[in-house]
Amino acid sequence: MITTMTLAPLVAAILILAMPAQRARALALIGALVSFALTAWMLIEFKSSTNDFLFRESYEWIRDLKVHYLVRLDGTNALVLFLAALLAPIVVWISWGHSDRPKTYFALLSLQFTGLFGTFTALNFFHWFIYWELALVPAFFLIKLFGKSEDRHKAAINFFLFTVLGSVAMLLGFLFLYQETGSFSFIDLQDKVESSEVSSLIFVAILAGLWVKVPLAPLHIWQAPAYAAAPTPVVILLTGVMSKMGVYGFLRLIVPIFPNQLEQHADMLLGFALLTILWGAFLALRQTDLKKLLAFSSLNHVAYCVLGIAALGVAAEGLKVDAHELAKQGVILQMFAHGLSAAGLFYLVGLLEQRTGTRDRDTFGGLCSVTPRFAAVFYILTFCSLGLPFLAGFAAEFLIFSGSFAVAPKVTAVATMGLLATAVFLLTMLQRVFTGPVKEKHQSMSDLTRNEILILIPILILVFWAGIYPKTWLAFSQLIP
């Protein structure tokens, strides 16, 4: 079932290449919808079942290398997989009018879906790594071939080099891990890593790969140019799902496999998470290009996840609250919440750019009265991002902070300053774009069409759902041992 779900877009990609160009978008949509339907069905079944590993597939693959094909749905990946599967058809739908080399475009998108789904479900390093790379290559081409801005080539190359170098470090780390333990399976590895000098180096190598992918400062410099250069549907994938690959990597690899090393390096990780939160907020404060502003806002929000993960490494004995449990659930919910709000916001900024030809914050004004529906959705998603109660972002950030505050009060206290800065730059953005006098040239800007509202509705519903009644979604992350 999981394999079918993962490979459906791949089959679509192959068919797209084989069939005439007019069929491309329909095939991509079908592939993505099949994946989404299967994921939704699996999640419902999984939730009502008492079996923690209801969906699990396991086959012998390459015996000489002890490579075992293992995929499963569990507490760690359920929500991110759902997020990815939800955004996939949305992304195809947004690209519906895409007319430039449609075969290449939709085939690359579909390939990327397969890479993302595979990364979230695979539990053996060998095929997990294949998917991890598969998710990268199409993104590179999508930015390079279909990006809008002049510097897209440079942005794509930077993005590619950074992530590939990270991957190389990670591959090296796993090869050594195999030498140490004789296993590639994430499950088997869980209690095989001892604390030694070598394990620490392996830990650092794997950390490097994730560091770039999240990204954490100072390895984030590829991010903003790549987001700014990529076409809107691709940014939605980049920020909504790909940045979650890194966080998910932390949860899948670092937390269960390297608990001792995480404990040793927790302070360092806390420090860099904090640095990224503040740095991201600071960069966003000075930015007027809306896409870049949102990119830095993403940087800042995803770093909260890492803060929560670092908190898992700090001992929590003798506390009245189960800080680790809170932090872990917060991290997973934050991935979900940020994925939704960032995807929605980037979509809206894309629409804005499409209608006005610019995305400079300061050229707008008073759009509230011109396009009320657009403004309403924009406000809701921004407030979700800000962490307004009853919206998804609040529940998630609240959990993370209450978890990390218990174990690392000082760092958390400083990190909440980041929240303040977030509020400042997001509210400034709202103020500049939507309030004040209307600019002449934007008088005739059209409001959201029915189609666009249709795309945004599922995102809005989930944002409210996860904010008002997060229990539905936390039920999955509670399954993590």
């Binding site: 000489d64 190389v168 090869l175 050594f176 195999y178 070598v198």
Partner: protein, 497 residues
């Protein structure tokens, strides 16, 4: 010692069939087809050689499966070592040669039709003997048979001056390196008094033996196109007829790599000697990866680019060779990984040359990368096959090249002494190899960009007639690359010694 000649005849039947086909092709060409049209002569020679090679292949497969009589090493007076492992390599070589033959008849580069095919068969025979030989001299003679055939083939295209020049370069470099190799082997013989590789005693770390092995590395380094013995490769790849370049880049590499592994086996029991040699191998590996990858970056000629990529790949290969003494355990095994890698690489390389041969030989000049602009529109099937070959060479999953590289590096790591001490071992080498693989992506993608992305106005002109045999061989090679990437177990099992 008495040899059982009847049994020997049966054991060598696959080779004998090929020899018969070779002479038949020559004989028919010289007698009945004297004065016939060139195309007809090519066609006849091709048919006879393909038939003979196919029969030889079938018998070799039967032998590898144990369905046909095979003598063990002792019965051949220590000359031949016919195990599943070596017979698999021989079978693979015959099969690859069978893929070369249809390409050779596409372009009528020379009037010596039957000699062309006879030389391909001779080279194949030689390679078969290199991988199955257990005797120092036997292996050397077989390797010379390969080399001489390849020198002659490089010069076949007499209408091109560059072809002759490249062949002369190849011959002079090659002859000198053969001298080095023979010199090294004679030292080895002098130190041990033994020609049979299975009987070599435990080697001690004497300067004589170190010199012997260094000389052997020079000799085989030339055949494998390792830097700094690579200077011939770009010229030869560029100027030789494309099928010949393909065969130089695949078959001869398999033979040389297998021989290198066999020659290194006796060293495994002598830690002192090993320590000295491993350094030399590591230096060669670094040099090759550096020269190959950096050299390839600025090539505009596709065949030259492939030559540099071959140099780089030989460098990766040596990283695995460093693990030649790893015991057969549950973890990765050095020899197995090297053989797997070189086979996969050869298949991909031959495939790439096959596509070039189909597309470029009608140009009548050297193929630049830009000549392939927009091929995707005109010939989507071949473009996809080419993409598979190139991505496999670059090591992109899930193709066989990725698995080969993965396994190779894994073996190199597993072979190191317990990883407790980080200052020992070749961690840096593996890290370097991985970085270089990233660099290599750049030039592979540049070629693929021309094929798949760049559009070209005269797209229709690129329509080329592709013969059915070419089509089958190219698609078979591509299918093998994909299949081995997903399901390598059978081949890995066969290559276990």
């Amino acid at each position: 010692m008495d040899l059982d000649f009847q049994k020997l005849l049966l054991t060598l039947l696959p080779d004998l069939v090929v020899v018969v086909a070779l002479f038949a092709a020559l004989g028919v060409d010289y007698s009945r087809l004297r004065g016939a049209a060139l195309a007809k002569r090519y066609e006849t020679a091709y048919r006879i050689s393909a038939l003979g090679l196919f029969a030889g292949l079938v018998m070799a497969v039967l032998q590898a499966c144990g369905k046909m009589c095979v003598m063990d090493a002792a019965a051949t007076a220590g000359q031949l070592k016919l195990t599943t492992n070596t017979l698999t390599l021989k079978t693979a070589l015959f099969a690859l040669a069978l893929a070369v033959l249809p390409l050779a008849k596409r372009d009528l580069v020379t009037t010596h039709a039957s000699e062309y095919f006879a030389l391909i068969l001779l080279a194949t025979l030689g390679m078969g003997f290199v991988v199955t030989s257990q005797n120092l001299l036997g292996a050397f003679v077989a390797l010379e048979l390969v080399s001489l055939s390849l020198y002659a083939m490089t010069a076949l295209n007499q209408s091109r001056a560059a072809s002759g020049e490249a062949a002369l370069k190849y011959l002079t470099f090659g002859a000198v390196s053969s001298g080095f190799l023979l010199f090294g082997l004679s030292y080895l013989y002098g130190a041990t008094g033994e020609l049979n590789l299975a009987n070599l005693p435990q080697l001690e770390s004497t300067s004589l033996l170190i010199a012997a092995y260094l000389l052997i590395f020079v000799g085989l380094g030339f055949k494998l196109a390792l830097a700094p013995f690579h200077l011939w490769a770009p010229d030869v790849y560029q100027a030789a007829p494309t099928p010949v370049a393909g065969w130089i880049g695949s078959g001869s590499k398999i033979a040389a790599a297998a021989l290198l592994l066999v020659l290194l086996q006796p060293v495994a029991n002598s830690p002192e000697l090993k320590k000295a040699l491993v350094l030399a191998l590591a230096a060669l590996a670094v040099a090759s990866m550096l020269v190959g990858n950096l050299g390839a970056l600025r090539q505009t000629n596709l065949k030259r680019l492939l030559a540099y990529s071959a140099i780089a790949n030989a460098g990766y290969l040596l990283v695995g060779v460093l693990a030649f003494d790893s015991p057969i355990t549950d973890k990765a095994n050095g020899n197995q990984s090297v053989l797997f890698y070189i086979l996969v690489y050869s298949i991909a390389s031959l495939g790439a040359f096959a596509v070039i041969s189909v597309l470029a030989d009608r140009l009548g000049r050297d193929a630049e990368i830009s000549d392939f602009n927009g091929c995707w529109k005109a010939i989507p099937g071949l473009s996809i096959a080419f993409m598979i070959f190139l991505l496999s060479m670059a090591g992109i999953p899930p193709l066989a090249g990725f698995l080969g590289k993965f396994y190779l590096f894994l073996a190199a790591i597993s072979a190191l002494p317990e990883a407790a001490s980080l200052d020992q071992g070749f961690y840096w080498l593996i890290a370097f190899a991985l970085m270089m693989s990233v660099v290599s992506l750049y030039y592979y993608l540049r070629v693929l960009k021309a094929f798949l992305v760049v559009t070209d106005e005269d797209g229709e002109a690129k329509q080329v007639p592709v013969g059915i045999a070419d089509r089958i061989s190219i698609f078979a090679l591509a299918a093998i690359i994909v299949a081995l990437g997903l399901w390598p177990e059978p081949l890995l099992g066969l290559l276990q010694n």
